[in-house]
Symmetry: C2
Subunit: 195 residues, 2 copies
DNA sequence: TGTATTATGTTGTCACTGTCAAGATAAAGA
DNA sequence: TCTTTATCTTGACAGTGACAACATAATACA
C-alpha cells in the first residue's frame, strides 16, 4: 500500500530525481538541464513541471537527499570506529566527509552551491540543518572549553575547504592526498583543543 | 605610447573585462552571459569572439585578474601589521583573505569555481600559483616542524571553507561573524604549530 | 602614395535552454 | 456513468553560446 503507483505513468517524481543524480554523475554540471533529465526519464520536456515547478526545485530536492545520505554516512562512520571516543568519532566523520565529497562530487557541489542552482525548499533547509546539528554534537562531545558552535564552524570550514580544493584540483601535485587529509584532520583536533 | 588605441573601436578587450566584473557584481551569476556583457560594453553580441573565443576564456581572465588583486591585498595586509612576526603576518593575511572574499564575492567564487566556467588559461594558472606560493611562504616563515605545503593546505582549506560557508549563508545565526573569524584564525595557528 | 592584408566588429543563423499556455489523457470521485 | 482533477504532451517564446559570412577600418607593404 505504500507502493501504490498513483498515476498513469508511475512515480515520475522519483524517476526524475534518479535521472538527475545520474546526469550529475555522468556529465559536466553545465550540461545537466531539465530537458536532459526529462529525456533520461523518457518523458516530454515539460513533464517535470508538475513535480518540480522549476529546475531549482529539482536540484534542491537532489541536494536535500544528498544531505540525508551524507548524514547517514557520517553517522555510520562514527559508530563503526573503535574505541568510541569523542575524538575518534570526529576523526571518522572527517574521513567519511571527505570520502562522501569525493564519491558524490557533483551532488556535494550542489549541496554547497555558490550560485543558486538549488531552491531553498523546506526539505533542503531541514536536512542541511540536520547535518549541522550532527557536527555540532560531535564537537560538543569533545567537551572543550569554548563555544561548541564556533568549534563546529572551524571543523566544517576546514573539511569543506579541503573537499573543495580537492575537487577543483588545487592540491600541489607533490603532496600525497592521504598525508594531506590525515594531517589536516589531526590539526583540526589540536586546533579545537585550544578553543 | 603605451596608451595607443590600436584598433578602430578602442580597447574593447579591456572594456569587456570591466563590463564582466561589473555584471558579476550587479546580478546573479546565472544571468551573466556573453551577450549581456557585450550589451554592457555597447557592442554586438559576437564582438567578444575576437578577444575571447569563448565565455570561459573571458571568465578565466577575470578570475586571473582576481588572483592578482587577491595577492596584492594579502601582501599589503601582511606588510602593514606590526610587529612583523611570521604569526602576525599570517593572521593579517587570513583577515585580508576573508575580507577579499566578502567584498569580491562573485569574482572570488569564480576564482574557485566548481564548475568549469573558467578556461584554465596560462594566465589563470600562473596567477593562481602565485597565490599558492604566497601562502606557502607565509607558512614556511613560521618554521614549524612538518611539511610547509601540508600546513599551507590546512590554512587554505580552513579559510577558503569559511569564506564559502559565509557566502552561502551557512553560519549559525546566533554566532557573531567576528568571533567566528578570529577564533578560526587562532585555531589555525595553534593547529599548525602541531604540524 | 595606393593597394593588399589583417584585425576587428556586425548580422544572421543554429541548436539548445527554462518556462509558460493550451490541449490531450487517464485516474479518481460523484 | 459522468465529472473533476492530476498528469503528461505539444507548441511557443525569449534567451543563450557558438559559428559563418560579410563589412569595415587600421596596418603593412609595394
Amino acid at each position: 500500500m505504500s507502493e501504490t503507483k498513483p498515476y498513469h505513468h508511475g512515480d515520475l517524481r522519483e524517476q526524475l530525481l534518479q535521472a538527475g543524480e545520474q546526469a550529475l554523475a555522468e556529465m559536466p554540471m553545465a550540461q545537466v538541464s531539465l530537458r536532459e533529465i526529462a529525456r533520461k526519464a523518457g518523458v516530454s520536456h515539460a513533464a517535470p513541471k508538475h513535480h518540480f515547478p522549476t529546475l531549482g526545485d529539482l536540484m534542491g530536492e537532489i541536494a536535500a537527499r544528498g544531505f540525508q545520505r551524507f548524514v547517514a554516512a557520517l553517522d555510520e562512520a562514527a559508530n563503526s570506529i573503535t574505541p568510541q571516543t569523542a575524538e575518534n568519532r570526529l576523526l571518522a566523520m572527517g574521513r567519511a566527509y571527505l570520502r562522501f565529497a569525493e564519491v558524490n562530487s557533483a551532488v556535494y557541489t550542489l549541496m554547497f552551491d555558490q550560485r543558486d542552482s538549488c531552491s531553498m525548499t523546506p526539505h533542503l533547509v531541514e536536512t542541511s540543518l540536520e547535518a549541522w546539528g550532527q557536527l555540532e554534537n560531535a564537537v560538543a562531545a569533545l567537551r572543550v572549553s569554548g563555544n561548541a558552535s564556533i568549534g563546529a564552524m572551524f571543523v566544517w570550514s576546514t573539511v569543506h575547504g579541503l573537499a573543495m580544493l580537492k575537487s577543483t584540483h588545487r592540491l600541489p601535485p607533490h603532496l600525497t592526498l592521504h598525508a594531506v587529509e590525515e594531517n589536516t584532520l589531526r590539526m583540526i583536533v589540536t586546533g579545537i583543543a585550544t578553543l
